[in-house]
Symmetry: C2
Subunit: 96 residues, 2 copies
């Protein structure tokens, strides 16, 4: 299982613009057959700091996601409104 | 629901020291009645970069967690091995 945290830092004045784009991205990504979890959160202290917490079977599934029509169309539209570069961390679970 | 991402940056030489401390912290935290989710991950690119993804009903539940015997005993022991300060982000879900 591959866990992903992807963080975006959106300009405050663009939050209303990106929200519907995010919602479409979440809705369509959750329909992907290999998507295990794909949830979007916002920092309580920073309304432009959006955090995806994602779960995929493996890297190949994530790569398929990143090549989908909705991802390749929506992410550039969202990234146009960033105030700083986003970050992505790929993680493994620490066994109990 | 309150979602939390807590990140630690541990010195490479101390990873074997902190792992059992992390495991005890995860085990005991998951037994807390108000704990909805408490999972530990490690960055594929940085074996000292540990990431907790947590879920609590609300801030009060998180505060109770931070006052528990296991938290107050184990977290300082872990933090003694940090190479830089950890970060904590409290988040709300973005409604679909």
């Amino acid at each position: 299982m591959l866990k992903v945290i992807a963080q975006d830092f959106i300009k405050p004045e663009a939050i209303d613009i990106v929200l519907p784009l995010y919602r479409e991205l979440v809705e369509k990504t959750r329909q992907e057959p290999l998507c295990l979890a794909y949830d979007l959160f916002v920092d309580q202290k920073d309304p432009g700091h959006f955090v995806f917490i994602e779960e995929w079977p493996d890297r190949a599934a994530l790569d398929i996601h990143c090549a989908t029509e909705h991802f390749t169309r929506l992410v550039p539209l969202i990234n146009a409104h960033q105030r700083q570069d986003g970050t992505v961390v790929l993680m493994d679970a620490v066994p109990a």
